[in-house]
Amino acid sequence: MRFLMNLQSIDRRIVYILLVIAVWIPLRWNVIGIDPKVSKEVKSAYDTIENVEDGKIAIISVLWGAGTLAENRPQTEAIARHLFQKGVPFAILPWDLQGTTLAEQAVERIAEEMGKKEGVDWISLGYRPAYIDQIIMSMAVDFQGTFSTDRNGIPLSKIPMTKNIKSVKDIGVVMETTPSNTIPAWIQFLGQKYDVPILYGPTAVMVPEGYNYLDTGQIKGMLPGMMGAAQYEVLLEHRGFGRRAADALSAAHLLIILLIIVGNIGFFMARTRRADM
């Protein structure tokens, strides 16, 4: 009885160690290896990119930093990989100082792996300090006037993939990867007004809000957290960090559920005992 009652007060250090083990073992040895099923919001995001018209570019908006790297980077990588595969040139539009370097490094790696060239298949527009709403409004009217140059200081009018990109009409899709509530800005000023398909890559905690916009058709698809990236990798038939980490996430979720059950067993035992006394 006492043992069962003590289940509600396991030392937090033991809980931490259990979590480390639960995450580390699947990441290290890939012991489970189950692939996620592709949800309709992820499939819809995939189809949207498949249907980008020739001559248009994609934009990957990067608002994440090292803090949410585990969730947002696999999303960014999955979308970049798909765009490279499909031959849709894209521009990285970073709003976060750290995210600028992190996203550029990730795309550089994939570009090298797939033999893609900066300036032809992708560019980075360089860090933009805040004021997302205003910059989106401005780029919709005049893309080259708003950004002028890429990260290397080369005028957009001289870069092969952007020389003909004038305004919102030349943008085929926008992917927003973010841990913050910035998606309304893209919906209000680009998606709704100019009929540009918007895709959403939020962290898991932001996912519940995203379903509203999916339901209304204001976003065309969503990659919910790291599992969204893992599902996208399944569609791309590529095994990246998302799929490798999916098992670790399974183990962590199972551990939380088990701990809650165990804690409640202890709680009920203690309550029963108090009632008996």
């Binding site: 396991i10 809980v15 931490y16 979590l19 489970i32 189950i34 692939d35 099923k37 309709k40 930093g65 090292a66 803090g67 949410t68 790297l69 585990a70 750290q98 992190l102 933009r128 300090p129 805040a130 004021y131 205003q134 910059i135 409004m137 401005s138 780029m139 009217v141 005049d142 006037g145 708003t146 140059t149 290397n152 200081g153 009018s157 020389k163 004038k166 305004s167 100019y194 996912v207 519940p208 809000e209 379903y211 509203n212 999916l214 339901d215 599992m227 999916a246 098992d247 996430l249 399974s250 962590a252 979720h253 199972l254 939380i256 559920i257 701990l259 809650i260 804690g263 409640n264 709680f267």
Partner: protein, 438 residues
Amino acid sequence: MFGFVYNLSFIAIVPKQGTSLWIFIIGSLIIGVLFLFLLTRVPNRYRKTLIIGVTFLAGWFYFLEFMIPGNREAAPIRTQLKAAEQDLRKVDQDLSAVIIGANNRSVRITAAQRHIDFALEDLRKAQSLIESLKKPTEERYQAELKKSDSFAEKHKLDDKLSGRGEDGKIQNLQTKTLAKTIDGLSSAAGRTDNAIRLLQDVRANIAGASDKQIPELRGAVLSAITQTSFAQIEISDNFLTPYKVPISDILQVIGAFTVGIGLYSLGSIHGKSIAKRRPGWYNSFAFFAALVLMTLFAFFKEYLPANTDGRIISESIYKILFSGGLAALQATMFSLVAFYIVSAAYRAFRIKSSEAALMMMAAFFVMIGVVTFGMWLTNGLSGSLTSLRLENIQSWIMEVPNTAAQRGMMFGIGVGGLAMALRLWLSLERGSFFDKQL
């Protein structure tokens, strides 16, 4: 004159290396510091007025840009398109009634046909109006190009200064605006054409359509509504719209200034901490060391000549500092949240009431249904039991109850946000911002 001033922005091409780069950096720094200094010299009694004025004007610009209708010449086109859209919405209502099995099917179909005819008529009128407006706009564009050319020649402006693009055309505010208007008219014509084709197809098939075909026809009508609606947006630019770009440039500069002010503020606090040897002063020292090292090596890796030892070493050190230091530290900080969440869930999630039990059930299905293990657990369920798979239950919770609750909250937040936005715009907020700090 306006065009000439706007063209000055084209001069600001950032040099990549050499003396011109250093002159550019030092010059920008001096201008920035001077501007900040001037701001600090504004007497206290005028600061509130200054902030109110700037906030109000900035908000007023976007408000007016949103509210003022597009140019007057395009107004008849918008009226025709609006009329067509309204007729099409009536067609949608008629077809929806047929889909849900209304008794008067034939009456509804006849009404839909009539409204389609009205819409087609309006769209054709809009199309001819667009064509009649496009021609004079193109002539004005050509005249404006000539005027800009002679201005550039008269003042002996080179390509950069005159804003001449690779196509040889001068891209100042006026020429850009006219080019965009022509572009918008072309797009509107394209969209109107698409809507007409869709409707002609619906009109041809609606009379003999079976119940199964009606939803398809309704889909085509909805597409035509979208096309008509977007055609109106294509020609909705007003005289303020072109200024969105320079305003956005100004905002980006202000954003960059805030980074500078943040650095100044941090430097001031940590500098005092070191000077006075306050407890933990070595943390302040670490701040300065990190700031200087990151700045220096970021510059060196970018601007030292390529393939030199200095550049290669700088790149390596920067990588160590950024990936090995900054990114790793921040990722570690954030990952600590996971430990707290697990610990907190274990300690706090007790079934003490029926509401808590309901919440726990929802949490269970969402947590298990979203991960691969949960998907695998109920993989065997098929046929009529498919909806009981954990991932499907999770999906239903997220799409139905969650969306309903979220939407309710968003309405409330939206109303609150509107009130807050008005208070900010009109500087009605009170508290330390105006009462103490300034």
